[in-house]
């Protein structure tokens, strides 16, 4: 994996290094006196910072990339020329580009994301209202996906290897493929039709109570759950064939220890790597799910602001989404670095 030559640059938060481990040969690019783990963390941190810089530049540029006059587009054809000029000055678009950029940066550093062209509220205030909803929705869905996928994947792998339950395993595998192929917003429509309309059992719109969360979380979680379960299944099958599992069987351990203690930790790296992708995918998936269930979160904000061409709001919400995705990616990497004793991911 290519790491930008600009990394690592920032201050070093890592403590004194324990020196290179003689059992492992650290790669040549790593800083010589850091342990592999510390250098991995530093590189990932540097990478996240570079990504953040790219995002900041991109959100700044997006207003300038819109064909034609963005202010006129935002205010509509009926706005007076005076209003257009005043708004242009408010947004700072009448200044030279570099001054706009430094203004944008210093605003960001002070937590100032500008003022919405529609509501005339500060963008940061709106986002602070909406952010928790989206975060809770994605994390709930991730929990459901992860907690459901591991037992299903492990159980189907064990059944498939043992020969018994092979047909059942194939059936589950088919069902999983089917669920992966259905995008979350279509699944949401199906769930609404079944549980909302036909059975009239659950609320199909809004956010607040536990009952209102059931359908959105389910719609968001089922696809990732099925995908993760397939990964766990495949990884588990590979682990079950390893010599160390034969060793463990040789100790005649009960199934619980055999699968939970000996097999599970060895596929956790692969499962978590996929899990990280799923988590960021879930964050994006909230956009569609919030639209289906009319949930006031970041997702409905980004859609309405794009439709309304509310550029300060667009910039703010894109930035928050990007920071969320980058933060989650970094978090997963750090968790991996802590969990994997062989540190196999740290070579990349």
């Amino acid at each position: 994996m290519a790491i930008s030559p600009a990394t690592p640059t920032g201050p070093t938060p890592a403590g004194p290094a324990t020196g290179p481990d003689p059992a492992r040969r650290g790669d040549r690019h790593a800083l010589p006196r850091l342990s592999p783990r510390a250098s991995f963390v530093l590189r990932r941190l540097g990478r996240a910072l570079v990504s953040l810089a790219v995002v900041v530049v991109a959100t700044f540029l997006v207003v300038h990339l819109v064909p034609g006059d963005p202010v006129r587009a935002a205010l509509g054809p009926s706005a007076t020329p005076e209003l257009v000029e005043r708004t242009r000055a408010e947004l700072g678009l009448d200044q030279p580009a570099w001054r706009q950029f430094t203004g944008y940066l210093s605003g960001l550093l002070h937590g100032d994301l500008g003022v919405s062209l529609r509501s005339h509220r500060p963008v940061a205030a709106t986002l602070a209202d909406r952010f928790p909803t989206t975060l809770v929705l994605s994390l709930l869905a991730f929990l459901v996906a992860a907690l459901g996928a591991v037992p299903i994947g492990v159980a189907t792998a064990v059944a498939a290897r043992g020969g018994r339950g092979r047909a059942a395993g194939a059936g589950v595998s088919w069902a999983l493929s089917g669920l992966i192929a259905i995008p979350n917003f279509l699944l949401a429509v199906g769930l609404i039709a079944l549980f909302g309309v036909t059975l009239n059992a659950l609320p199909v719109a809004g956010w607040g109570g536990a009952a209102q969360a059931v359908l959105p979380v389910a719609a968001l979680a089922v696809g990732p759950l099925a995908y993760l379960a397939r990964i766990v299944h495949v990884e588990m099958l590979a682990v079950l064939e390893t010599p160390y599992m034969t060793t463990a069987r040789g100790k005649r351990l009960p199934a619980r220890l055999l699968y939970l203690r000996h097999a599970l930790p060895n596929m956790i790296t692969a499962a978590l790597t996929t899990g990280g992708l799923i988590l960021t995918g879930l964050v994006a998936g909230t956009v569609l799910i919030e639209a289906v269930f009319v949930i006031p979160g970041l997702g409905s904000t980004i859609v309405s602001s794009i439709t309304a061409k509310d550029y300060p709001m667009i910039q703010g919400v894109v930035l928050v989404y990007a920071v969320l995705v980058l933060g989650l990616n970094l978090l997963i990497d750090l968790v991996l670095a802590t969990l994997d004793p062989r540190s196999s991911i740290m070579e990349g």
């Binding site: 290897r161 995008p183 917003f185 039709a193 930790p265 894109v318």
Partner: protein
């Protein structure tokens, strides 16, 4: 380069895919002519009706037939998805191929940039781009297309890099072919087939993405309609007519599946069916057996399915007994069935192995069937196995100490602290210095010889009556081999355990064991006391013995080899 198409088409999946693709094509081409009137004819009387015979999916708020609109929307939906795919693929290929031929620092920069873009989900990228091009059909097509560029570029870059590293491209460079020539003549033709497969797969993603954008109101705008737009209109009236929302949804999923199936058909055709395990035919009679005998094997036959699924017998009628405290060696070339025999005795053959034996027992426990709970405990404590490669045979995710203590903790109910204490003593007894520290380490932090000693220690945590050592020294160098053998010998002396020692090295076995069984082609050809190997009668045994170089071997002559018949063919040097 593979062309899986004709082969893939033969299966039932291929037939279904082709039929589905054909039906989709028909709808795309013909629907506007056939159902055009029904989709546009408004009727105030028929507004917002549920499904009926005249309108299977009901009607919309202007009384138009929803089914007709879904069928007609196929053309726009699929064309927009294909357009987005074209944008993604052409953009991705250009970026990926250009990145490949750039000089190194630039190449790493572009590659890092692609990685950064890849860390964002497609929907976020598509939304970002739709800010630029606005909420229109063509704007959304560009947005979905550009959102796909990073993943196609990464794929192209990976494929193209593997091509440019090959000898024929280097050779072309040396004779002066420029970057453009290399791309056109060498890179593109070699990466085209896998790219095609991914293009079909991406078309499916693009279809779903586009439906999502239209559903959000950021794609096709009224009065135009694609499936996403129909879904958006349908969900607003889902309590009145659920089919208005479900209909377009079903169309999207079906079309997505068809596009996906086309992708996997053009790619690798269905992989081989997995090996089918066969139940062991256990005609073994579990019984008390002779208490003087530890292991009893009578007419053991083990078969494995080959690639075509036919059973191949690898052990063909082996019988052997091991008495308490005895050290028995099995020697033979690789493939002679010696390891399979040992694993059968240990009851550790995989589910694909078909085992057939008149008797296969350890201390009266039938090893052809799954053991009962009480038997499992006895096996865990009294039967230890040491494998060839200690690196792969120790669990990389658990500390060495944990892997030792769990035997006592699981089967003997020893408390944690006591088990740790015992593990430390055992590690010290197998000659591991600073056992306390080693117990806290992971297998990869130990040397090869240390790992194998820890493995033996693992077997000594119980009360072993039999240690099965399957080529325990083959993966180690010669000096370490000797240490490991000494540890095994000490363990036998201390515990009185029997040892079944598997090796291809007859010199090693004869020095270590009381009795040697010689295996060839799945059968025991000779059984002989280790001290009397020189008197062996079977030509294969004699050949094995003759092959061992000793101090008096004439080193100017080539080493003897064993020919097909099992005799020694001494090759004369030309």
């Amino acid at each position: 380069m593979r062309s899986g198409l004709p082969r893939g088409l033969r299966g039932p999946q291929g037939v279904v895919t082709v039929l589905g693709a054909f039906a989709l094509l028909l709808v795309i081409v013909l629907a506007p002519y056939v159902w055009g009137d029904a989709a546009t004819a408004t009727s105030v009387a028929d507004r917002v009706q549920g499904p009926s015979a005249a309108h299977p999916f009901g009607t919309d708020d202007l009384g138009r037939d929803v089914l007709a609109r879904v069928l007609i929307a196929a053309r726009l939906s699929v064309l927009l998805a294909l357009g987005a795919t074209a944008v993604a693929v052409s953009g991705g290929i250009v970026l990926g191929v250009v990145a490949t031929v750039l000089p190194c620092p630039l190449r790493r920069l572009v590659s890092a940039f692609i990685d950064i873009l890849l860390s964002f989900p497609w929907l976020l990228l598509a939304l970002f781009f739709s800010v630029i091009w606005g909420a229109t059909a063509s704007g959304a097509m560009l947005a979905v297309g550009f959102a796909g560029v990073p993943s196609i570029a990464r794929l192209t870059y990976t494929l193209a890099s593997s091509v440019t590293g090959r000898d024929f491209v280097r050779a072309a460079r040396i004779v002066g072919v420029g970057p453009a020539g290399v791309i056109l003549r060498h890179v593109i033709p070699n990466i085209a087939p896998p790219m095609l497969v991914n293009t079909a797969a991406y078309a499916s993603t693009a279809l779903l993405s586009f439906a999502g954008l239209s559903f959000l109101g950021l794609g096709v705008q009224a009065p135009g309609f694609d499936w996403g737009r129909l879904l958006r209109e349908g969900i607003a009236r889902i309590y009145v007519n659920p089919m208005a929302a479900l209909g377009p949804g079903i169309a999207i999923v079906l079309t997505g599946l068809i596009l996906n199936a086309i992708g996997s058909l053009t790619g690798e055709s269905a992989s081989k069916t997995p090996l089918r395990p066969r139940a062991s035919k256990a005609r073994a009679r579990a019984g008390a057996g002779d208490p003087e005998v530890l292991v009893e094997v009578e007419d053991l036959r083990v078969s494995f399915p080959d690639r075509q699924g036919r059973l191949v017998e690898r052990v063909r009628g082996v019988s052997l007994t091991i008495r308490p405290g005895e050290t028995v060696g099995i020697v033979g070339a690789s493939g002679s069935g010696k390891s399979v025999t040992a694993m059968a005795v240990a009851g550790l053959l995989g589910p694909e192995a078909a085992i057939d034996a008149t008797r296969l027992s350890f201390q009266g426990i039938d090893m052809t069937a799954a053991p009962r709970a009480a038997d499992r405990r006895r096996l865990g404590l009294e039967l230890a196995v040491v494998f060839q490669d200690p690196l792969t045979s120790l669990n990389p995710s658990l500390t060495v100490g944990r892997q030792l203590t769990e035997v006592s903790r699981t089967h003997d109910g020893v408390p944690r602290a006591a088990a740790r204490h015992r593990a430390r003593d055992v590690l010290a007894s197998v000659g591991i210095a600073r056992p306390e520290r080693r117990a806290r380490q992971y297998p990869h932090e130990l040397s090869g010889g240390m790992r194998q000693r820890a493995m033996i220690g693992m077997g000594l945590m119980g009360r072993p009556r039999l240690v099965i050592a399957d080529e325990p020294t083959t993966a180690l160098d010669v000096t370490v081999q000797r240490q490991v053998l000494r540890v095994l010998r000490d363990a036998r002396r201390r515990t009185g355990s029997a040892i079944l020692f598997i090796s291809h090295d007859i010199a090693l076995v004869s020095g270590f064991c009381d009795r040697v069984l010689v295996m060839k082609d799945g059968q025991i050809v000779e059984e002989v006391a280790a001290a009397r190997l020189d008197e062996a009668r079977h030509p294969y045994t004699r050949a094995l013995v003759a092959c061992v170089p000793h101090m008096g071997t004439d080193r100017t002559r080539p080493l003897p080899v064993i020919d097909e018949s099992g005799g020694v063919a001494e090759e004369a040097r030309a």
